[in-house]
Symmetry: C2
């Protein structure tokens, strides 16, 4: 199989300057019809103050809005930075060709009718790709809503009245782009730096733009929408670099079968198994949201605020009900509430009165009604508590002067400054929910001016606060500086021999190792395998069983038989020579090409069992999976994924993420399993996958776990041909 | 134990007329200080046009805002409908007493400092309750934000500029009330009929107000917030009546430990196990939401729209991205997308072009840009498909004239009317998400005028559409017309004897039946129990084991030993006379008060095992629980609850709601279990709980399930004293 494409992200990124920060633009397919994009873009560029040259191309010539129209691309001056192609799909490859001849550096192709439209479109897209590869013109699209860069006044997206700012949007959808720009411009004081609709990604990919945005000094946060990535591993690599510098938030859609189906008809991208992708994105430090209405609030909070590492959230509410709702939402979102220290509580009682609720939520209702500065004193007190990582202010703040007394407006503005200052000084985060958020009252605008996010939805404010706390303690963990290693030192000569042997098996056309081969390979990588003997005859099998003593398992060995149980190729708990012989004969009778049987002693009942596996995902590359064993858990799909490589400690974090982790950690007085042994087995599987290039899938299932060790009961290794 | 209070709801409800629709009001604690509620209420009543008499009481006398002030309550005219008590907590019992003397019919008590404030407050609340019971004055509060009825212009809540309408709010929280009124007034064209903050419910309870609102002709939907109910079973009884006539939506908070803790310091209510309550509310037809920002959108959708029963949702989007997000959100919310018929698709292709995405979502992007009437033709086509129960329109609708061409405004308004009309004619629901919702453009106001909910959040629009579809197929199922019955006819004489016997055991002071007693009781109610023999001596035990043949279980029988395993009182798989004798002797040695041992044959391995139980919840009354068995599932808490009684069919619906239901329904070629036998066992447990008043808890765990029958392996029955 072909290697996953990697590493191209950084290299090509400066070539995007001409596209994303152009000094000159040509509209190919300029129009004098105001309902056409080829017309609309001209006033849009003027409105946003684009200062570079604007060229127009249309065979009719003439003049549009005072700009002379060039009849052909050939007639353009050489070296225009960017062409906006407003012409139908079939003409596009030829246009790019002509652009290349005039040294146009980049193009944005709006047309639909390519891959997303079926077979003919895919053929056309192939032709376009060929032209791009040959000419080196960098192309965004096709099937894109366009691009926008407020810094240079570039507006090729048809959006009106977009406020400049530092939020970048990177999307696969024009309507999501438009909605986000509208939302940010109308409901916040933030603004947009760059917006890129990548469309079908025939050339410029999601990860390349992300890389460019990571280095764009005008961008403080990247909000992304995608319903499937063309090069997910390259995206992870890029994201893990970018998220160290600035937050990246993704609305990942196409999670369900129905959503994925809709996504295919949309961008033509094959939606992968979302859970695996989500795991990789988390490893790369990307914050994923699952609601469209939380992308913006979470992005703004991450762009402006930083929680103190390890702290919980303190809720500051002015009334009971919303405090309860917020506590539920944070806890259900997996975020800890800060346990306020006794000194903090005493100080709060000093401010709020002896009977006030000073647990967490802290209720300022009453004392604050006539004196909003109470908010500042409470915020200062909370900021001083080492348990607090961030505070979430909820309720009426910003509307006290509406609710109670117009005279309170100035006090509220001053409280807004005071709260922001207190949290900034303490190096802790603050998020404000206000039921007056949409009115954007002066105290709320003051908060925004101080860089404090003000959010209209209580629930979204909770999600944003959770995201802050999570980012404080968990930045990108991928790729790890060192990968987890099998315990003990592997014999490198053995490993090299095993790799050669496995390659030879693959080269001979086998798509899988037999179980004895798989066991031998995995043992080389330190996976703990129980005793087992390959027996070519009934006599050998009986003798092996006698040597082991006690009941044995007898399993068929034949190249090509992968699912042994389904062909009656597994006999368990076989006792006595006669039974072993019968098992052998029955398997021989049923199995053409039998190489023999594998005889192994029955293992003692484990404390718990797991699945340990790895496979090569076509997009993400090697992916490691830990799953809980047992039939009930199979139904519940209690599995956790990580993109390889993973660092030391990651396997334990995966164990903790299993819903049934208590079974491994000592449930109801049962002993805990040997996590070191599990870790070693996992590392062996991972190392086998990364080191043996012809291996496409490894599955140890079940791995029996004991208080002092682990034993693989069965092992399966699949091979891929093209290496 | 005392019976759950029931049935009081209907009786007392007309007595709420004086409170909720008063003809005269007296403000006790009227004030000339504009920062006090005793002042603010006067201009508020005038602003909202209250036409009844307004009386003021303050010892200082004089005049406030032109109204003469009466120095004492005694000096009031007799028979004022409603007193608003703006005085501090300690004075309240005396004030109610004085009100009663002047035949004041109801009172709203704002003061805090009662139960929610600790022990002294609780004592004071007790005194207040005593006065109320003695005098018959109906009291809302204390610790309430007040009440409002826009129909009669009654505004005792201090909210400004509330638009009259048909949405009723019933809450435990003042800030949630204020937020909802602000949200509805500012973001929709809907308005408020009644708003009641019940506060501590010292007298008038949540369910009484709900009952009144159910009959209030001015109310079309009830939105509730609660973080714990004082009389949950009465609430269910009331809700099951009200939800047949109008939708009831609850934001139920206090779901987590942290939320419940916050709730206690808020209203002093003991938050129950939310999952049990949620199950009961669903049985009663209440729509529960778990986000504060979805209460209003869901309520408006349910108030204005009705989905066709059994249909799925068709998504009508104008661009790809949001369609994918909506598909994910609906599916993850448990709602089916309609599978559009081929005739529908063909018609849609006729409207949208041969290449359009006419699956579901249906993408009108492109064709609709210049012609919004496309929306109407698509809506008509979808409405005609019998698979479609409701449509969800998402994207830019309402802003085409902003996005593309101002001239489209009239066409959009006309399309708004056309879509609403099409769906109304078809008797199907419609919900509209628009990114221009907050601008409330003329097409969107047109939609609202036609009774179509317009929602700014895509995610909330999906939740609202899901709620529509759910309400169409699942109204109140509780209480059922007939309860599920044990299979076969019970011997009523046996039942009567069993009830007498069990009562006698309870009367003798026992808090639990022994296992043989529990088995005998449950067998009477048709629960399938395996053979078992109570043996008083080792000899009897050995003889019993011999009669059964094969391995047996030996279990200790001693009054007071409830957890047999923990005292070494269970020996499984005991083989042979010696082993049985040893087991007996060991148990006798360890167990003072041994009555004997229970010997039973080991049962064959079941296909699956479950827990079947029932208990008397202090608030909800008898509650039935079905849980999946096995240790992994215990960790995952795979349990489903229902408030008893449940109707026939409900046990199967509970099975379907288990996460591990595939284990019962035939997983991977395994046989399905005998659901009739499970149903019969469940019915027996339920009947035992409802019929034997001294039983407080029944647990059959595990119940072994086979393809042709079921067997209880262990049974536990707890008894309560006071009957």
């Amino acid at each position: 199989m072909s290697d996953v494409k990697t590493g191209s992200a950084a290299a090509g990124s400066s070539s995007l300057d001409a596209l994303l920060r152009p000094r000159s633009v040509v509209v190919v397919g300029a129009s004098s019809d105001p309902s056409k994009r080829g017309y609309q873009v001209i006033p849009a560029l003027r409105e946003t103050g684009f200062r570079g040259d604007i060229h127009l191309v249309n065979p009719r010539g003439g003049e549009i809005l005072g700009i002379p129209v060039t009849p052909t691309i050939e007639a353009l001056p050489s070296g225009v930075d960017l062409a906006l192609v407003c012409r139908p799909a079939p003409t596009v490859p030829g246009i790019i060709e002509e652009c290349a001849a005039r040294s146009v550096r980049g193009a944005v192709v709006l047309a639909t009718g390519f891959r997303e439209a079926g077979e003919d479109g895919a053929t056309l897209e192939g032709r376009l790709r060929e032209v791009i590869q040959r000419t080196g013109v960098r192309v965004v699209g096709p099937n894109t809503s366009g691009i926008l860069n407020t810094r240079v006044g570039l507006n090729l997206i048809g959006a009106r009245a977009v406020r400049p700012g530092s939020v970048a949007l990177l999307l696969q959808s024009g309507n999501v782009a438009l909605a986000l720009m509208t939302e940010i411009t109308e409901r916040t004081s933030a603004g947009i730096s760059v917006c890129v609709g990548v469309g079908n990604e025939v050339d410029v990919g999601f990860h390349e733009v992300l890389d460019w945005l990571g280095r764009d000094p005008d961008t403080s946060v990247v909000l992304m929408y995608a319903d499937g990535f063309r090069e997910p591993r390259a995206l992870l690599e890029t994201a893990s670099r970018v998220t160290c510098r600035k937050p990246v938030v993704l609305l990942g859609a196409g999670r369900t079968r129905e959503g994925a189906t809709a996504a295919r008809s949309h961008t033509g991208a094959l939606a992968g198994a979302h859970e695996v992708l989500a795991a990789g994105l988390a490893q790369a430090g990307v914050t994923e949201v699952r609601r469209a209405d939380e992308l913006m609030p979470v992005g703004l909070a991450l762009a402006t605020q930083t929680a103190a590492e390890g702290g919980g959230v303190a809720i500051l509410s002015d009334g009971g009900g919303y405090g309860v709702v917020a506590a539920d939402a944070l806890i259900e979102g997996g975020t800890r509430l800060a346990e306020l220290g006794e000194a903090t509580r005493a100080r709060l009682r000093g401010i709020l009165g002896a009977r006030a609720a000073v647990g967490n939520p802290v209720d300022v209702g009453g004392p604050a009604d006539a004196d909003p500065t109470v908010f500042v004193r409470v915020a200062e007190t909370l900021a001083a508590d080492p348990e607090v990582g961030a505070i979430l202010v909820i309720g009426l703040f910003g509307g006290y002067h509406i609710r109670f007394d117009p005279a309170l407006e100035e006090a509220e503005c001053s409280a807004a400054r005071g709260m922001a200052e207190a949290m900034r000084r303490a190096g802790k985060g603050i998020v404000v929910h206000s039921m007056y958020a949409l009115r954007r009252t002066s105290p709320l605008r003051t908060l925004e001016g101080e860089g404090v996010p003000v959010i209209a939805s209580l629930d979204a404010a909770c999600t944003a606060t959770s995201a802050l706390v999570r980012r404080a303690s968990g930045r990108a963990t991928w790729p790890p500086p060192v990968a987890v290693e099998p315990s003990g030192r592997l014999d490198e000569a053995d490993v090299a021999a095993a790799v050669r042997r496995t390659r030879a098996t693959a080269a001979s056309g086998s798509s899988a190792l037999t179980e004895p081969e798989a066991r031998r390979l995995l043992a080389t990588f330190g996976v703990p395998l129980g005793e087992a003997e390959l027996c070519a005859s009934a006599e050998e099998a009986v003798a092996a069983a006698e040597r082991f003593g006690g009941p044995v398992a007898v399993k068929v060995v034949a190249r090509g038989v992968l699912h042994k149980t389904e062909v009656g190729g597994v006999a368990l708990d076989v006792r006595g020579g006669n039974a072993v012989r019968q098992a052998f004969e029955a398997m021989r009778a049923r199995t053409p090409g039998l190489e023999g049987v594998l005889v192994s002693p029955m293992l003692p009942e484990p404390v718990a069992q797991v699945l340990v596996g790895a496979r090569r995902d076509p997009g993400l590359g090697p992916v490691f999976t830990l799953g809980a064993g047992g039939v009930a858990v199979e139904i519940l799909r209690d599995v956790v994924h990580r993109v390889l490589p993973v660092g030391p400690g990651e396997v334990r974090s995966m164990v903790g993420a299993l819903k049934t982790s208590p079974l491994l950690l000592g449930h109801r007085g049962a002993p805990a399993v040997d996590l070191c042994a599990l870790e070693a087995a996992a590392a062996g599987v991972a190392r086998c996958m990364t080191q043996v290039d012809v291996v496409t899938e490894v599955e140890v299932n079940p791995l029996f776990l004991y208080p002092d060790g682990a034993r693989a009961v069965d092992a399966r290794v699949l091979l891929g041909g093209d290496s």
